[in-house]
């Protein structure tokens, strides 16, 4: 079952620029859904539409199986969010910041201490939040989002401004909450490497269009399917001919030829065919295909 769905969600800015095009997000319950895209791809606009911060122009948003517009208050009572930069009141302390949200969420006062401990901000005392570092503000923003024990957490680039240690800590925290409390998390990022160790599902958006959506495993398969080697030979044109005749899809690249393959035995077959055609093979090496490259390829492709 999906905890969050969008149906044909679209949004156009007054300038005419289409920020989101026919977006159909499917966030499964108890998943950690990584919502990926380059800066300006439409992630934040999509999340703001999901949360009702931007007036919808077309499409529907369903959260917890209910249409958001008709059930706004009920849905928001079970949802925590952190959109873009953290919203903390600079003239108030961390406890006061949480206290004012605790009043609205009507959750036990003890939750304030719990979430402060959870994000490692217990020792801030009377220091106004305005004097916190960006990382501390980000943690406080996460604490506010977690205050009422939500079932769904929507985080827009929550690790912005955090040092590497902070990123690891937040990642661990989210993983623990997901594993132990079954919390569903929708987390956006422009860096796949930042969340690849965390997510169970992935959606990739580019220029407002969802280019890929599926499990992390499916994305990994895509990576395997698009593996490539560079072959360096003594006769490039003959090698291209031979490989094309052998049903490969070679493309010249500098002094070598790039050949896509799907299994390790393919590399041996490529070599055999070239040698059988009396072509000297100087080198065959893997083209590095990390997930970041797959991501970049996906957003370069016109459609998924």
């Amino acid at each position: 079952m999906n905890i969050l769905e969008t149906h044909h969600l679209s949004h156009q800015f007054p300038s005419g620029e289409k920020a989101v095009r026919d977006l159909n997000l499917r966030v499964p319950s108890e998943s950690i859904y990584g919502f990926l895209g380059a800066n300006g791809a439409g992630k934040t606009t999509s999340l703001r539409l999901v949360l009702g911060l931007l007036k919808k122009q077309s499409g529907e948003v369903t959260i917890f199986g209910k249409p958001f517009d008709q059930n706004r208050v009920a849905v928001l009572s079970k949802l925590g969010s952190l959109i873009e930069s953290p919203s903390v009141y600079g003239h108030l302390t961390a406890v006061e910041n949480l206290k004012l949200f605790q009043k609205i969420y009507r959750c036990p006062t003890s939750r304030i201490g719990d979430v402060l401990a959870m994000v490692g901000l217990t020792g801030t005392g009377n220091k106004p939040a305005g004097r916190f570092s960006l990382g501390m503000k980000q943690r406080l923003g996460i604490a506010i989002a977690m205050l009422h024990n939500p079932e769904l957490l929507i985080l827009d680039e929550p690790t912005n401004g955090l040092d590497p240690n902070g990123i690891i800590e937040i990642r661990e925290l989210l993983r623990t909450l997901n594993r132990e409390q079954g919390l569903s998390i929708l987390i956006s990022s422009h860096l796949l490497s930042e969340i690849e160790k965390l997510v169970t599902h992935v959606g990739i958006i580019h220029q407002g269009t969802l280019m890929f959506q599926g499990t992390f495993e499916e994305l990994m398969n895509k990576k395997r399917q698009t593996a490539r080697v560079v072959v360096e030979t003594g006769d490039m044109s003959k090698a291209l001919e031979t490989l094309t005749a052998g049903a490969w899809k070679p493309t010249p690249a500098g002094e070598g030829i790039i050949v896509p393959f799907s299994s390790r035995s393919d590399i041996a077959r490529i070599n055999q065919q070239l040698v059988a055609a009396d072509i000297e093979v100087y080198a065959i090496r893997n083209v590095s295909r990390d997930l970041e490259t797959v991501f970049m390829d996906l957003i370069k492709t016109p459609s998924a």
């Binding site: 919203s87 009141y89 006061e96």
Partner: protein, 257 residues
């Protein structure tokens, strides 16, 4: 109703130590502090003044003379802008709008806090007026404490009128402040309207500018003010109009953070 009370409490926490909160307190005591200082410096007239049966009315008139025409409207312009700025400056509208409260609750709680801050200002200002009479008696042995009865009813009536005359300013400034991110714009508009109102106060159509009412109330016995114009009615009407307009604009706002 419980949600509204909780929301109000939440908004009240937000104004702690805020510029708007400090402005309310310091603004309320500014004129009384100046007048007290003046009275203390001119101590030779103090004994007679404090013995006068009209001492409270005298102090009330002196305090309101400076407060009503310029400082009160200016204070409201600043305070309303600063209250709304709490959300803009802290990038917090988006967080407020993703809390489980109806938009009506958010609007009422926030506006309620600004109205209650105005009440707080009036209470503190009246405490200040009382202190203007009491403090000199505490400082000088030969100066008696004011002995005349405190005119509760006239004070209450006068304050109530000034309060109602402030409401359209508060409502309009609040409208500007929650819809315009740059807080200098509402302050600039408010200041321009206030200056216009000072020029227009004795104009026969001056009552059309809601910022004139506090000045008109103070000058009510001046023959330049048309007594046939019911400024209480105009003031209430403008207040309701601006508040409803603000509410509708707030509900239909496309971008909520």
């Amino acid at each position: 109703m419980t949600q509204l009370i909780n929301s109000f409490q939440s908004e009240w926490i937000k104004k702690r130590r805020s510029s708007a909160a400090w402005l309310t307190i310091s603004g309320a005591f500014l004129i009384p502090a100046i007048l007290t200082t003046k009275r203390v410096i001119q101590s030779e007239t103090l004994a007679a003044a404090n013995s006068s049966p009209k001492i409270w009315r005298l102090l009330y008139g002196q305090n309101w003379q400076f407060m009503s025409v310029f400082l009160l409207p200016m204070g409201i312009i600043l305070a309303a802008s600063l209250i709304a700025q709490i959300e803009y400056r802290n990038n917090a509208w988006k967080q407020v709008h993703t809390t489980p409260q109806s938009l009506t609750t958010i609007f009422l709680a926030k506006f309620g806090v600004t109205v209650i801050m105005l009440v707080e200002f009036f209470l503190l200002f009246n405490v200040g007026i009382c202190l203007t009479g009491i403090v000199p008696a505490m400082l000088f042995q030969d100066v008696p404490f004011p002995t005349s009865d405190f005119p509760f009813v006239p004070f209450l009536q006068g304050n109530s009128k000034f309060f109602v005359y402030c409401l359209p300013i508060l409502s309009f400034q609040y409208l500007l402040s929650i819809h315009i991110r740059n807080f200098m714009v509402p302050i600039g508009i408010g200041f321009a309207l206030l200056v216009a109102s000072l020029i227009a106060v004795s104009w026969k159509y001056g009552y059309l500018i809601p910022y004139t009412y506090c000045s008109m109330q103070f000058l009510i016995h001046d023959n330049r003010i048309d007594p046939s114009v019911n400024i209480l009615f105009w003031s209430t009407g403008y207040f309701l109009f601006f508040t409803i307009l603000n509410y509708v604009l707030y509900l239909t706002k496309r971008n909520k953070g």
